[in-house]
Symmetry: C2
Subunit: 262 residues, 2 copies
DNA sequence: CGTGTGTTTGACATACCTCAAAGTCTGTGG
DNA sequence: CCACAGACTTTGAGGTATGTCAAACACACG
């Protein structure tokens, strides 16, 4: 059903395999409209900033490959990573009327994005219902994931927080919640990143990582995460099934026909 | 410009003074559509649960008066309040396809809400662009506020966290960020609520509240918050101006005409 | 008057932070 | 091939912010 588009401007990634904001775009009509956006791909090298806390956000970015962190820098110099994102993630959206959101988006490895001018997005939202649905879904999901992470950081012990984050990253990367022991994934993260995301010190994260390794739960070592015992990991992370499902970017079901009519 | 509606089913609050989800509804046409929803008001007594973590969320609620907390209960018995909301707040929305979101919504005092069946909302979203804009705005804002709170809980000291929360509640209640000393607001909260929201113990919150009082910054005492020195409070809370503005539920600017056209 | 809920205080325990330094690994340049 | 620098990881000793436990106090309510 996915049509090939001859356009040179439309993001080839989105056309070939719709993800993120474009995930549910499948009909010819959808692509006609998407083409108007004149998607452009941009790439960022590891460690570079995609946008800063006080940039006026001119674009929304659909991540097509690589890892990105969203980070808040506080006046006292501490940093809190609010989210890690990878392929299919949406960054740079801000509520209309809010000038800044204080976030810093950083490329953790080589990142390519599909850059949509905010103005074009707004205009398109006025015409494209499927895009509205998709954006609403993604924003709702992001809020949910963030609030669960808040509960994690606010209430759990250090070991649990680290296990929670590693499990989240594992599930995000593979896109499913059923894993066997021995699964290995590459994550372009240092222990400092984990520290900033969990509200701990890098030194203390190290001790927790060490313990998870000694307890034969997971081995996180030089950007490689290896699952030693998946069921122990689930237990150590103390997350319920519904939280895990929110970590996966899913399709939005088609709207139920019927409902309220005048 | 606000039209009087003769309907007995439409929420009178929304018709008289549109807030929350209905905030930008102002034209006759908007009300025509809203009426279809057959809004019903419901009320909840202090301490009662509006919905639980595993309820299938049949309704979305627009808060028309009172205070509500959104809380996550963790397996180990700890609780994290992710948000306090009052008049104009929207609760109960969940991303389509996510069965549960694990949240518990509790009425903190006498609460009245305008209950919109989720199915009706979905149907209406297919036709009403202003509602799409509004929902997107509110979800984007909620995510932003939550991620700022995450940074607060993850990185700040106990005293700062408490000051941050009290400042947030003050600004939410009054709807503006410029306050003089001596301002007093009623908040239906105990120190335990503040503890659950900040990730501290009630006992430690007490010590911090006591210190804020001794330092002549704020006096929080038996559900009453009195600002003793607003500029000290801002300093103690370490929040930037843009965060404060996100705490206020604002109107969504009309979509900029023009933009991308085919 | 008793009961329950919320607040306050003190003594003590501990999880986590801070500081300091050594140990790895990788890439670079001689 | 070696020397070096830089980033990351690992380990240890000691400090402190916060949690835990216990109990008294205040206040509302029946």
């Amino acid at each position: 059903m996915v049509a090939h588009r001859p356009s040179t401007t439309i993001c080839r990634f989105c056309a070939a395999r719709p993800r993120g904001l474009c995930k549910d775009m499948q009909t010819e009509a959808d692509f006609e409209t998407l083409q108007v956006l004149q998607y452009r791909t941009r790439s960022f090298r590891a460690g570079t900033q995609i946008y800063g806390p006080h940039d006026v956000k001119t674009h929304v970015y659909n991540i097509t490959s690589g890892w990105v962190s969203l980070c808040h820098e506080l006046p006292d110099g501490h940093r809190q990573i609010s989210q890690f994102l990878t392929t299919g993630g949406l960054i740079g959206y801000r509520p209309v009327g809010q000038a800044f959101n204080g976030e810093i988006a950083t490329a953790l490895d080589e990142v390519t994005v599909c850059a949509v001018p905010s103005q074009h997005l707004s205009a398109l939202l006025e015409r494209q219902l499927s895009l509205n649905r998709r954006l609403i879904w993604m924003l709702g999901r992001d809020g949910l994931v963030t609030s669960h992470r808040l509960a994690c950081v606010g209430q759990l012990k250090a070991l649990t927080r680290v296990a929670y984050l590693l499990l989240e990253l594992l599930i995000m990367t593979t896109g499913h919640t059923g894993h066997g022991d021995g699964t290995t994934v590459q994550l372009p993260l240092t222990q400092s990143h984990i520290a900033d995301a969990t509200g701990l010190t890098a030194i203390h994260v190290n001790r927790m990582v060490k313990q998870l390794r000694q307890d034969a739960i997971v081995d996180f070592h030089s950007s490689t995460l290896k699952v030693l015992n998946y069921s122990s990991l689930k237990q150590a992370a103390q997350v319920s099934q519904d939280v895990k499902e929110a970590w996966i970017i899913q399709s939005v079901p088609a709207p139920q026909s019927g409902g309220a009519t005048a």
